[in-house]
Symmetry: C2
Subunit: 229 residues, 2 copies
DNA sequence: AATAAATGAAGTGTCGACAATTTTGCACGT
DNA sequence: ACGTGCAAAATTGTCGACACTTCATTTATT
């Protein structure tokens, strides 16, 4: 149920496993953002050949988690505020559309499944009411389900395969367990309602507002941080 | 000026060159859509080692032009109507947002540059007036400029780096030099106007309509084809 | 005869070594 | 002391060979 393993396909080849390991290491900051990646060093560390490591690097590049320059090398993508805001712009656009498509294409079963998930969030939120972290996990879960509900492979690929790792990385590294938990939950509820009503236009509008609100929340925090200093 | 080389970075390494060659081969159908890719065969054909070829395959996978399954192999992505329509949905969303961002972030120079390009399209269109192909190139050029105008790296990456090769592939393989040339030109003009007025909301709306119109045009054609048979 | 197991061929994944490029460090000269 | 140029070291790109998986054909068993 919970989104503990963000990699959908089970790793079969060793390059897959190295990819998984490095993915988590980069997302949680074990391999710091902006760091240069030494192929020989990491190959030795993970006890694989350089070819295998490079295969993993290729997939990390596909997720926009590392950047490569020919004959120079790879480095972990830099976590900047600008980049974070850019991602939110893309999410607002894409997840909004995903939400519209979900209102069109989701099956009734999928919708009730999502409603049940929300109910569960409601109770667990009531229990821990102040604690935002769990709700954050639930937030990811919710967005995930909406995206899959679009039944649009291109959308799913871009959002789940690429952007979401970046989103998780920023959340963890910037420590953004935002205090928007209860408000986010209300917003989720309304979105589900719109989807249930098959009102694609409203669903898109609400999702865009929801994500834009998160973005503005971040912008506000940044502004506060800047004035405090 | 024209978009003859869709690869932005000049290829330096041999894997880059093989990637370029295969990219064009796949886009124009020399390597047919849906085909299985034999690594030993293609390596011999391009006269490179399998490692180098695999490096190129990795980048093609990044563009969603091929799909890989572990221990089984790669095949060129299948050109289906459903997938084409899915791409248009993503484009409507992302390019709409790119257009909104362009209205915010484009410099005055970039805007006048785009206006000049449109003027040039107008004259060359008057000359060839019936011929749609050139306008199609111009269409891609226009969209390209808007995307770059968003100044959003994430958007640029996804649209120019990944989706646009797919779009070109479908255009060429489905022979979609659509008769919307003159109408598309008018729509482009209005979009530029909105950007010039710094009206992001309108710019996004117009771009979404523009792309949605293309999509509906395709849907109509498909419907016609189905009734004719 | 039909299904299942086995065997072989073909293809993909992984490895270590070599070639080409970039970076580093040192010597030299101004 | 500083900048320039060269040489050596380190790193990336490329190659060919080997290991393992998958698929097809053949063989054996019920």
């Amino acid at each position: 149920m919970a989104l503990n393993t963000p990699t959908l396909e089970t790793p079969v080849t060793t390059a897959d496993k190295i990819f998984d390991l490095m993915l988590h290491a980069i997302v949680d900051g074990t391999i710091p953002s902006g760091n240069k990646i030494s192929e020989p060093e990491l190959a030795k560390q993970y006890e694989v050949s350089r070819s295998t490591l490079r295969e993993a690097l290729n997939r990390l590049e596909k997720c926009h988690l590392i950047e490569r320059k020919a004959n120079v090398g790879s480095r972990v993508v830099e976590c900047t505020i600008e980049s974070l805001l850019e991602i939110y712009v893309v999410r607002e656009s894409l997840e909004g559309m995903a939400c519209r498509q979900a209102a069109i294409h989701m099956t009734d079963e999928e919708i009730t499944d999502m409603q049940n998930m929300l109910k569960q969030h409601a109770t667990s939120q009531a229990l821990k009411d102040g604690v935002a972290y769990y709700q954050e996990e639930g937030d990811l879960d919710f967005h995930y389900k909406v995206i899959l509900g679009s039944h649009n492979k291109q959308l799913i690929n871009i959002l789940c395969g690429q952007l979401y790792h970046l989103v998780r990385m920023y959340r963890i590294q910037f420590g953004m367990n935002s205090p928007r938990a209860t408000r986010a939950f209300d917003e989720h509820s309304r979105i589900v309602e719109a989807i249930k009503d098959r009102d694609g236009e409203l669903a898109e509008l609400l999702m865009r507002r929801h994500i834009a609100a998160s973005r503005k929340n971040i912008e506000k925090k940044i502004a506060q941080l800047n004035t405090e200093i």
